[in-house]
């Protein structure tokens, strides 16, 4: 009875729990993007090092979530590992916003 089709796999999930997980996940992604942006801005990172911090923080967040999922993200998140790690365009812009804001406050203005 292996669920191969996406429909069957989706039927095994319990919708309120899936929604709760998705909400928590999006909150975590947004907050980690904001904190990464603040850190990059305060440290004065520029160009690619700043984006490197963003990627690093995303991977670190993915690692923590992977531990929290006890190694099986497909059971908790609808799209599996990719969905869990992918920050999405929205959080990239939030990172840029926070990064620019803190960089400006600390390094541009005296």
């Amino acid at each position: 009875m292996a669920s191969t089709t996406p429909d069957q796999a989706a039927q095994l999930l319990f919708p309120p729990n899936v929604q709760y997980n998705a909400t928590r996940l999006s909150t975590i992604k947004f907050l980690s993007a904001c904190y990464a942006g603040a850190a990059a801005g305060i440290l004065g990172l520029e160009n690619f090092i700043g984006f490197g911090l963003f990627i690093g923080s995303t991977l670190f967040m993915g690692g923590c979530l992977w531990l929290k999922c006890k190694g099986k993200p497909a059971k908790y998140v609808h799209g599996g590992v990719v969905e869990m790690i992918n920050p999405g365009q929205e959080n990239l812009f939030s990172f840029l916003l926070a990064w620019t804001l803190f960089y400006a406050i600390v390094h541009v203005y005296d």
Binding site: T23, S26, T27, F30, L31, A33, C34, A40, G41, L45, E46, N47, G50, F51, Q89, E90, N91, F93, S94, L96, L97, A98, W99, T100, L101, Y103, A104, I105, H107, V108, Y109, D110
Partner: protein, 256 residues
């Protein structure tokens, strides 16, 4: 690369009076937009008896239930309640064209009106920023951009040689516009009306929802499935007033 070694010195008052106010105003306008949309949707009215009956929420004694379900099954075969007469087997009736059918048109217009309402505050804020905060450098971007962006982000600052990273207030507006969606989702919940990414995706969604073929035929299949379910459930009728006599007697302490 010599341009990036020189750093402009910006007045801290610009930070206090431009940077923070623009962000604050955009956050507040987003929240305001969300609540305005909420208030504009009329609250659900207390439904009259007929509407409740239609949804099947009234307590229905077993004899009535059987009579009604039998009547509905016969009515479907006769087509007495259907708009187009009895179902013509498998020939799909033409689905109502959304542009000409008045009922569907109203739904689409309502959606488009909300979208228009939500774009207006953004236009106003952009005009406000262009009017008041024009002609000076606001912020230095930590990431590099190509020269093509110079025209848009340094509008009003006539320096052809300055690094693209020194930008005007309008670019701060754009950064906020894209970056605050996550904050709205955190504060206002997932279904908020302040999200700017929804504004840009809805014209495509409305256009994609318009060609919905085969909808009329799906209804007749749905009705057939409902008829079958009704027949299956004839023996399963459970009623909220099932042993109401016993419950009332217990409540008043006279059960024996």
């Amino acid at each position: 690369m010599s341009g990036s070694a020189v750093s402009l010195y910006l007045d801290p008052q610009i930070r206090d009076w431009v940077l923070f106010p623009i962000t604050l105003v955009m956050i507040l306008v987003g929240i305001l937009r969300h609540y305005v949309v909420l208030l504009l949707q009329s609250p659900p009215k207390k439904q009259p008896m007929a509407a409740i009956r239609e949804h099947g929420k009234l307590p229905l004694p077993p004899s009535y239930y059987n009579a009604v379900s039998q009547h509905l099954a016969d009515a479907f075969k006769n087509g007495s309640y259907l708009k187009g007469g009895p179902g013509k087997g498998d020939t799909p009736a033409a689905p109502p064209n959304p542009l000409t059918d008045p009922a569907a048109m109203d739904g689409m217009m309502a959606g488009m009106k909300t979208q228009m309402v939500m774009m207006v505050p953004q236009m106003i804020i952009m005009g406000w920023i262009n009017f008041f905060f024009q002609g000076f450098v606001l912020i230095k971007l930590p990431f590099p951009l190509t020269l093509g962006f110079k025209a848009m982000l340094q509008r009003g600052i006539e320096t052809p040689d300055m690094d693209v990273r020194w930008v005007s207030s309008l670019s701060w507006y754009f950064l906020n516009f894209f970056g605050l969606n996550g904050l709205y989702r955190l504060i206002l919940g997932n279904d908020n009306s302040a999200d700017s990414s929804r504004d840009m995706s809805t014209p495509f969604a409305a256009a994609a929802a318009a060609p919905q073929l085969g909808q009329a035929q799906d209804f007749s299949k749905l009705f057939k499935a409902e008829i079958d379910n009704l027949e299956f459930s004839k023996g399963l009728h459970s009623w909220v007033a099932d042993d109401v006599e016993t419950r009332i007697l217990k409540k008043y302490g006279r059960a024996t």
